[in-house]
């Protein structure tokens, strides 16, 4: 446990020094996500958002601002980890990955440590923005004071597990840039960030099932828009935990496989 905390601290420090060397980082932390959110909000304006809007089948048209805000908050948590995983592949170019593997440090510790560190650094600013914007937009309904912290906790834990999975993939794959293109924007379209999952056609719903963000957003919205209590979200929380457990087992299995492969062939490219 002590070792895990040490690794986490070291990764956090390294990642902070690497990313915050210039104040330009605030563009990717706040300016880009905020403008993208505003863009998404206005791209709904050409549609009928009135009393008889077809959108009311899925959510009240008045709540569209809050719907998008929770969607983007979740997306930023997951997106910052796609970015983090992408940077993980630089360890390969820099030649430091061999050093990590030669040291007696826990592999999963490094992978999840990096994910957790980058998550904290990547989301605090946009989360603050989201809170302020939620107050301005209005419409928040919660069952108790614990709803928001619980929502954030569910979001953070799921994002770290998703990030760990991506780190493993990016670490052992030769051309990972391609994954960035197929994971990033489909997550934005299909996991319910901008369009309610219930509105998607059948094939879209099937794609949505692949992304853990889909389950997380459903819980987050139940907590802050519908005002559900703890017992009401328990079934969906159970499903989310099952999905995360499968993802975690798959990631740790993949690390073992990749390392065995590397020991045997001297090659870190598993795929």
């Amino acid at each position: 446990m002590k070792e895990l905390i040490q690794v986490l601290g070291a990764e956090m420090k390294k990642s902070h020094r690497l990313n915050f060397h210039s104040s330009l980082i605030y563009f990717s932390l706040l300016v880009w996500p905020a403008i993208t959110y505003v863009s998404a909000y206005y791209s709904f304006k050409p549609f009928d958002l009135g009393e008889y809007s077809p959108l009311n089948r899925f959510l009240s048209a008045e709540n569209i601002g809050l719907f998008l805000l929770t969607g983007y908050l979740g997306y930023i948590f997951f997106w910052s980890l796609v970015q983090s995983a992408w940077q993980m592949s630089f360890e390969r170019y820099a030649g430091t990955i061999e050093l990590i593997f030669l040291s007696p440090v826990s592999r999963l510790g490094v992978i999840y440590g990096r994910a957790a560190a980058d998550l904290l650094a990547g989301v605090w600013l946009f989360s603050t923005f989201a809170f302020l914007a939620a107050v301005l937009v209005g419409g928040v309904q919660i069952a108790g004071w614990w709803s928001v912290p619980l929502g954030l906790l569910v979001l953070a834990v799921s994002a770290v597990i998703w990030g760990g999975f991506l780190n493993v993939i990016f670490l052992f794959s030769r051309d990972s840039g391609f994954l960035y293109t197929i994971l990033d924007e489909p997550m934005l379209i299909f996991s319910g960030v901008r369009i309610p999952v219930a509105a998607l056609p059948c094939w879209g719903k099937l794609i949505a099932l692949v992304f853990p963000l889909t389950y997380v957003l459903a819980i987050l919205r139940d907590l802050v828009i519908e005002g559900y209590g703890f017992t009401q979200i328990l079934p969906s929380l159970g499903v989310l935990l099952a999905v995360l457990a499968v993802l975690f087992l798959f990631s740790s299995r993949l690390v073992i496989l990749a390392e065995k492969h590397a020991l045997k062939t001297g090659n870190l490219n598993l795929f």
Partner: protein
């Protein structure tokens, strides 16, 4: 100038074919396709085709899918063109060939023209693929005025080239591509009427659209493709587009010269 043009064209063509045949290409096509797919799902499945009453007035057409497909396509054209031309010099700097380029008496005009036209080749293929996918999703091409659309698109591409010169010198000055280009692209997507008419934006944001050639190019291009109107119908947009291009071109040529000098001074400092 033509010798430099030919040499740059040939070199960049070979680089594209041999070094990066797919990555940028697929990435650009996919992001435009995602924009279109998002609009398609929203229009057909969430709102069942019900538009707000003012949309047709603001957009100049009631055909939302065609509006967005053309928006997404020309936006991706703008992004590709701006990236290809503006990153040329800073890529030379990173690869270590900028000094050699600046020391030779080769024509800078020829260099940029070669880069731009070679880029146009790649962008042309991307453009056709996105239009084809958009057509499958519901882009209506029955009223297209082909000649006008072609002329408008050529002028618009020229304006992106002029804008790229300014962007390129800013990149070279700050030695940064990531933040500069992405910030411009995100702002451009918001204020240029790519997925929704500019009139929906708050009043204080709207003047920003007057700085974007993409805004005027898109308006003229849409009316020639969707409504089949001629050049005369879009005379105001075309005049604004040409004036903007001349301003960007003037600033761009001046800025490239100034930053080049600064870079040379830094190298030999």
């Amino acid at each position: 100038m033509w010798q430099t043009f030919r040499a740059t064209f040939r070199r960049n063509y070979l680089t594209m074919r041999r070094a990066y045949p797919w990555s940028f290409f697929i990435g650009n096509i996919l992001s435009a396709v995602y924009t279109v797919l998002f609009a398609y799902l929203t229009y057909n499945y969430v709102f069942l085709g019900q538009m707000e009453t003012r949309f047709a007035d603001f957009a100049g057409t009631g055909d939302y899918i065609s509006y967005v497909v053309l928006g997404g396509t020309v936006y991706s054209l703008a992004v590709s063109m701006l990236m290809i031309v503006s990153r040329a010099l800073i890529t030379e700097l990173r690869e270590g060939s900028l000094e050699a380029l600046l020391l030779t008496p080769s024509s800078r005009k020829g260099y940029f023209l070669g880069t731009g036209l070679q880029g146009l080749m790649r962008v042309g293929i991307e453009f056709s693929v996105i239009i084809l996918i958009g057509w499958f999703l519901g882009l209506n091409l029955t009223h297209i005025n082909g000649l006008t659309a072609f002329i408008v698109l050529s002028i618009t591409i020229g304006s992106f080239f002029a804008q790229a010169l300014v962007l390129g010198s800013i990149m070279l000055y700050f030695r940064d591509t990531y933040i500069t280009q992405n910030t411009l692209f995100i702002v451009m997507a918001l204020v240029s009427g790519v997925t929704f008419p500019v009139q929906y934006l708050p009043g204080w944001l709207q003047p920003l659209s007057m700085m974007m050639p993409l805004n005027y190019g898109l308006q003229a291009f849409r009316s020639s493709v969707i409504e089949g109107s001629g050049l005369w119908a879009s005379r105001n947009e075309l005049t604004s587009l040409i004036v903007l291009s001349l301003i960007y071109f003037g600033i761009g040529i001046w800025a490239v010269q100034v930053t080049e000098k600064r870079v040379v001074e830094k190298i030999f400092d």
